[in-house]
Symmetry: C2
Subunit: 366 residues, 2 copies
């Protein structure tokens, strides 16, 4: 086994999920992540945790969904019981074909997603962590060879997370103290309120309320959004390529949208439910170890010199204790490139301009 796979498993189990003896851990293994799952199994055995491996197969799900009439039972008890009793869920992405479910109708996906709302909530109530194993399908999606893609992934994953967490604390302080955030890109402006909300220093560990490995972003839960913005970083949503999606917000809700490509995917997102028309997340990418777009949200949204906004569900960690934020069956991220002709403005003060933060060398306020 490639030693980097074993190191990845150890970062996941120890730094990210903080697994201890006796923990009940669901390991969700995708079709392409068997090798990482073996390394995770070894780490879990060594730490004295218990595991159930769930097979997260796109191809089985596709066959099931296409054959089903669409009248799904709500939150089947056996699946709910598994996640309700679990301490941790480790999701190891991903499959052998990123388009494996491309021929499942949007209507069926949506009905299935909605019928599993309680299961999703139960999963998110655990100390869940999502990561990816560098598969050929992800390398292909990124337009990279497998060897180059492996190097890319392990550069992003096998980091000094403690030191990155310290760097990101500065941005958390800015957002925690803020009332209004404005994103300016070209001649577009979008603004949102963040007062009363708590930013998360997403340092790839449940100890930081951070659930993705790799990570490297600071995010919060905005509201009362107004304005217009074009998401110029290409990405894949519901297996469809989306390019230059533009959203127009009024009084916190999407009132219009267009896209150069994949407008149907945006429509699917927005029409999921009422909460899907509102933002659930504002995230600032701060991981400069991730230096290229690979059409994988887990990496792309963490890139330095980007910000992202998500339609749908807000993370409870950003809300005051006991309060719930925007609710939705979806959480769909969209990314803006901030490296040129752009500013991030917090309560009237420029925090980032053309990709430089105000505490960095080369920062220019105007």
């Amino acid at each position: 086994m490639d030693e980097r796979v074993r190191e990845h498993a150890e970062v996941l189990v120890d730094w990210s999920a903080r697994i201890e003896a006796g923990d009940d851990v669901v390991v969700a293994v995708s079709e392409g992540s068997h090798e990482l799952a073996v390394a995770v199994g070894e780490a879990l055995g060594d730490r004295g945790a218990n595991y159930v491996a769930v097979y997260d197969s796109d191809e089985i799900e596709r066959a099931y969904l296409r054959a089903h009439d669409g009248d799904f039972d709500d939150d089947p008890e056996f699946e709910l019981a598994l996640y309700e009793a679990a301490d941790t869920v480790l999701r190891l992405g991903r499959g052998r074909n990123t388009a494996a479910r491309a021929d499942v109708s949007g209507e069926i996906r949506q009905a299935h997603r909605q019928s599993r709302t309680g299961i999703r909530e139960a999963r998110m109530d655990t100390d869940w962590v999502s990561t990816v194993h560098p598969t050929r399908s992800l390398a292909q999606q990124a337009g990279m060879s497998l060897a180059a893609y492996e190097a890319f992934v392990y550069d992003a994953v096998l980091r000094d997370w403690e030191s990155l967490a310290a760097e990101m604390a500065q941005m958390k302080t800015v957002l925690d103290d803020a009332s209004e955030v404005r994103i300016e890109s070209g001649d577009q402006t979008i603004q949102m309120r963040v007062d009363g909300r708590t930013a998360v220093n997403s340092a790839a560990s449940v100890a930081y309320d951070s659930h993705n490995l790799p990570s490297g972003e600071v995010f919060t839960a905005p509201y009362a959004t107004d304005g217009e913005i074009t998401f110029d970083v290409p990405m894949t949503i519901y297996d469809q390529q989306v390019r230059d999606a533009t959203l127009v917000f009024e009084d916190g809700e999407v009132v219009d949208f267009t896209a150069a490509q994949g407008e149907d995917a945006i429509a699917q997102v927005v029409e999921t439910d009422d909460g899907a028309r509102r933002l659930g997340e504002l995230g600032i990418g701060m991981n400069r170890g991730i230096d290229r777009v690979t059409d994988n949200i887990l990496f792309d949204e963490k890139m330095g010199d980007t910000v992202h906004l998500a339609l749908g569900r807000a993370y409870d960690a950003c809300l005051p204790e006991g309060e719930s934020g925007n609710e939705s069956a979806t959480h769909s991220d969209l990314i803006v490139d901030m490296s040129e002709d752009s500013r991030l403005v917090v309560d009237g003060e420029v925090i980032q301009r053309n990709g430089r933060f105000r505490w960095e060398e080369g920062f220019e306020r105007t």
Copy 2:
């Protein structure tokens, strides 16, 4: 997809497991059975059932068990909850290497098995069915090409089960009415009591209390075993090859054993717990569609012209309502070739001689 895979899934879901809309089905997918799992997913979707796919990976389990100190938690709650709430468990065997766990110590295996007794019971309280997908590893174990092995498996699986069930009903009647069964092979004799027990017509369907696909045996739960017998059909137990194991019983318990090969595996079985020294099953193979030994218990024990005895756990279906039979953490089958120099004698009457039943042409009493 090979049309036989789809037909296999349909026999499994409809004839064997009797799946209906709304059933909660755990599909346990081994490393080699992805294709069958996709077909099963399609059938479950069509029938309107719910599924959770569990990844039953030998390689993950090996890594976990080898890294663990052996002090396992008993029946972790999250796994127990899944099986307790499930209606059906479909186990799709098997892996890519039948020796994948060969380097896990017997002590660790045994400790792990014992710690999962409650989970095993919960799984067996569902309408469970075990089947196999014809993998390269199973073909290799059988000494066959993949194509020939596929033909072998589908010949055994894609049968007219209704008509086979009718044939087997005769043997069930003989055993249900019986007090004592004697197996004579060469100069060895072993006898056991079966009065008060009910035989199962194992027709590969939960409707017949039969949980393997393929099947084709009639079995009951014997007790008070005495005598000596050599199991001359070769097989693999705990990943070890076992040849010509001889067991000696006194007053229902194993008092001595030897084997030409794999004696250590027999020792592991016998030392599991007290119940492992007693028989849990007497089975009569009646599936003449299975006409060769392939070192796979699911097939070998169903072969016509064989009988098998299992050390360990008895199936509740053979016991009077509410009563439990022999209890054990193991259930390990051993097979005797009855085709030559052998007799099956029930209450003094010869039922089978040299492989012919008394209701068949060519049967000779002496």
